[in-house]
């Protein structure tokens, strides 16, 4: 298949090239070069300070071997998986959909108030939000303890993963809610009406009428929030990966190793592994989306 045979815009090869060149240059400068550079750094013993900062040595695949053998890395990978599944795939999707579904029929004012509150959680700066949550979960006079009468429970220390999963669900639900609200608007009311007349319960309506209409939205939503959550650094602001690595998701692990520990080479190798995982997740969802068509 040649380019000209599908030249619907009638630009011709030359002008088409001219059109995409700036974009390709930007992609090269800000995506391809950094990625290649990360691969290169990942094969050195480059450090933030010391002799290896001035004269990094090529170490081949040592960093990758070290990562695969590093129990901290495997622990971190597992925690990231839990974090994505718990807070994005389940937490944000379910909460976002539930909100979008229930808010359809409520008075405009209630809907406005609820949507604003959920949106606020999403748009407030991370540092402020982290401060609020640290105060909320604190073992020393924290709000949650006051509500539950569990004086002295330090949630971030005793349940670090559960804390950051609930936190991220709260933080990110707005996106799913907005996307599902729009998607639900596209479900023909007549079909829902017919289903109801035929005696379908809420679950049957959701499964047989709503889901087929919004399947693409669900996949797009899951893809985006999985990737965002996978790369999310905010848990660091709550737990700094602790106590003793118990909530050290991959971005936090890389930060702790590369910048706090100064092992830039090792951190780059793990960044590259993360990049590959990102690509795999993206490809997986894109496949699913294609199958739909």
């Amino acid at each position: 298949m040649t380019v000209t045979s599908v030249d619907a815009a009638g630009l011709g090869r030359r002008r088409a090239m001219g059109l995409v060149t700036p974009a390709l240059l930007l992609v090269t400068a800000f995506l391809v070069v950094p990625a290649v550079w990360t691969v290169y750094l990942g094969m050195t013993d480059y450090r933030l300070t010391g002799i290896q900062a001035a004269n990094p040595q090529f170490v081949g695949l040592d960093n990758y071997r070290a990562a695969l053998a590093d129990p901290d890395f495997r622990n971190s990978l597992w925690l990231t998986l839990l974090f994505v599944l718990g807070s994005a795939v389940v937490g944000q999707t379910v909460a976002g959909f539930a909100l979008a579904w229930t808010l359809r029929g409520v008075p405009r004012l209630v809907r406005g108030v609820v949507e604003t509150l959920v949106l606020l959680a999403w748009i407030l700066p991370s540092s402020i939000v982290a401060f609020l949550w640290v105060a909320y979960l604190s073992g020393d006079g924290g709000t949650l303890n006051a509500l539950l009468h569990t004086t002295g429970t330090d949630w971030l220390l005793e349940h670090p993963m559960a804390s950051i999963i609930v936190f991220n669900t709260w933080r990110g639900t707005a996106f799913s809610m907005l996307l599902f609200s729009a998607a639900l608007g596209a479900v023909p009311p007549s079909q829902l009406e017919s289903a109801r007349l035929a005696g379908a319960g809420t679950f049957a309506q959701l499964r047989d009428v709503v889901l087929p209409h919004i399947r693409g939205h669900v996949l797009t939503n899951t893809l985006l929030i999985s990737l965002w959550t996978f790369n999310d650094f905010s848990p660091y602001l709550l737990t700094a990966g602790g106590p003793n690595h118990a909530s050290e998701t991959l971005p936090v692990f890389i930060y702790n190793k590369a910048l706090y520990g100064g092992q830039l080479g090792y951190g780059s190798a793990i960044s590259f592994i993360m990049l590959v995982i990102n690509l795999v997740i993206a490809l997986f969802y894109v496949r699913l989306l294609r199958e739909r068509r």
């Binding site: 400068a29 950094p34 450090r47 300070t49 001035a54 003793n244 590369a258 520990g261």
Partner: protein
């Protein structure tokens, strides 16, 4: 679009990596394309801008130091220069974060050839910064005349080492410190312990802790552990205990690996935790050290191991981070004892660890001569006296120390009794990695691992960090 040189790409990549990872954007942008400055650059300039940075901030961490820059150093220096016909604009970049975060920020600044002209740094970072080429000897940055500064003769060699690496001087030292055990006399009285308490062994500390435990709502003992406190775990926890167990972390060309001394230290931690004498949360929380300070100031900690910084800057009733109004009457201090009498390094009964920081010139400064002038001013007796403004601190200068220390019983104790029995960390670039391995070992103990497991993992980590089993002792 602009063409990008290899160097530009590299810096930009670092910038992307740093900002995306660090979130708070650790300032890794390339501001100057020059590859270094000559000492005479801009020497005759009439309009000069200089920046000072340190891990201090008004109303927060090390507030007295931040106020000193803003209220004394900057106005006085500007006035002095004005009299010479030079317009200087000096700005202070504050920070109020953990030392490790500050170190990372400064390292990224220097890596991208940016950052403040004068930086306050911990002496233990000098080796790794110098090896990385981030810092250059003073004579390289400001010229050979720096050796004729009047202050050098006032600063003892041990203190000068805080700003040196491999016999080269990189900055002007700011002073030194010593570590002691602080205790709350009120709680001691309640527990039936003496107001002039001086433990002779680790067992004495445990015994006192057991008595303090009987008072409800009190954390009997706080000896730092865990990774969240960073170097504070090493300096105010592992290392003073280690010298009390008879071993320095580095001696005779070998680092301590999975040795008996290391296992003794970890066993002591384990006992404290198993007996409920040490609050786990303080060791694990991201802000645990600050929480422990606040608890001590509120009279809820019995015994706490810290440097004189704690007395001066943390529980200082006037401008401390966690001011304690009753400090002078309620807080006692004691030597850190060796494991048993005579078991410390060199057969000593009492031990301590010391360190200290200094002020350093950024090799990328646009105004090396003016920056050096400002540095000398910061190290002058007048400026140091202004920083103390009536209070006391062990400064770098003997002429100042002779006058100020006698007025403060606590600091004379540190300078006269503690400094003679103290030890210093090895000034080697790899030290911070060993230190992190020590922190991890204590974190393992806090999270419930056995001494054997923690010591074994530590030994392996040290071997990896220092590059081989032949540089590690393991018996």
């Amino acid at each position: 679009m602009r063409t990008i040189s290899t160097h530009g790409v590299r810096t930009r990549v670092l910038a992307v990596v740093a900002t995306s990872l660090a979130l708070v954007g650790a300032a890794a942008c390339d501001r100057s394309s020059s590859t270094g400055t000559s000492p005479s650059q801009n020497a005759g300039a009439k309009d000069v801008t200089l920046t000072i940075t340190s891990n201090s901030i008004a109303g927060g961490k090390n507030a007295d130091e931040a106020d000193w820059y803003a209220k004394y150093v900057i106005p006085t220096f500007t006035k002095q220069q004005k009299a010479k016909g030079v317009n200087v604009t000096v700005t202070f970049q504050p920070s109020g974060v953990d030392d490790e975060q500050y170190k990372t920020k400064v390292a990224l600044d220097l890596k991208s050839r940016a950052g403040a002209d004068i930086m306050a740094l911990d002496g233990i970072w000098v080796g790794e910064f110098a090896q990385a080429g981030y810092l250059k000897p003073l004579t390289d940055v400001a010229g050979p005349s720096v050796t004729s500064w009047e202050g050098w003769s006032q600063i003892p060699k041990a203190v000068q080492a805080n700003a040196s690496f491999e016999d080269k001087t990189y900055g002007i030292p700011a002073g030194t410190d010593g570590r002691v055990l602080y205790f709350n006399k009120k709680l001691f009285a309640q527990a039936g312990l003496p107001a002039d308490w001086q433990p002779k062994s680790w067992q004495d500390i445990i015994d006192a802790g057991m008595k303090l435990k009987a008072i409800s709502g009190v954390n009997p003992i706080q000896i730092n552990a865990g990774t969240a406190m960073g170097e504070a775990t090493t300096m105010q926890g592992v290392l003073p205990l280690l010298v009390g167990a008879g071993s320095e972390i580095y001696s005779g060309g070998k680092w301590q690996g999975d040795t008996k001394a290391v296992r003794d230290v970890l066993t002591f931690y384990k006992t404290l935790l198993d007996q409920g004498l040490e609050n786990k949360n303080f060791q694990q929380a991201a802000k645990g050290r600050d929480q422990s300070f606040a608890a001590f100031a509120a009279g809820k900690v019995g015994i706490l191991l810290e440097g004189d910084y704690f007395w001066r800057s943390v529980i200082n009733p006037d401008n401390g981070d966690a001011p304690m109004a009753s400090r002078n009457s309620d807080v006692g201090w004691a030597f850190i004892p060796a494991r048993e009498p005579g078991s410390g390094v060199g057969g000593s009964n009492d031990v301590s660890m010391s360190g200290g920081g200094g002020y350093f010139l950024n090799p990328n400064t646009k105004y090396p001569q003016q920056a050096w002038e400002l540095l000398q001013f910061i190290g002058s007796p007048d400026a140091i006296n202004a920083l103390l403004h009536g209070s006391a601190k062990i400064t770098a200068r003997q002429d100042v120390n002779e006058k100020v220390l006698s007025s403060d019983p606590f600091l004379s104790f540190v300078s006269q009794k503690v400094l003679p029995v103290t030890h210093y960390r090895p000034g080697l670039a790899v030290y911070p990695q060993v230190s992190q391995a020590l922190q991890q070992a204590t974190a393992d103990i806090v999270s419930g691992k056995s001494v054997d497991e923690a010591a074994k993992a530590y030994g392996a980590a040290v071997e990896k960090a220092v590059g081989g089993a032949d540089k590690v002792s393991s018996s």
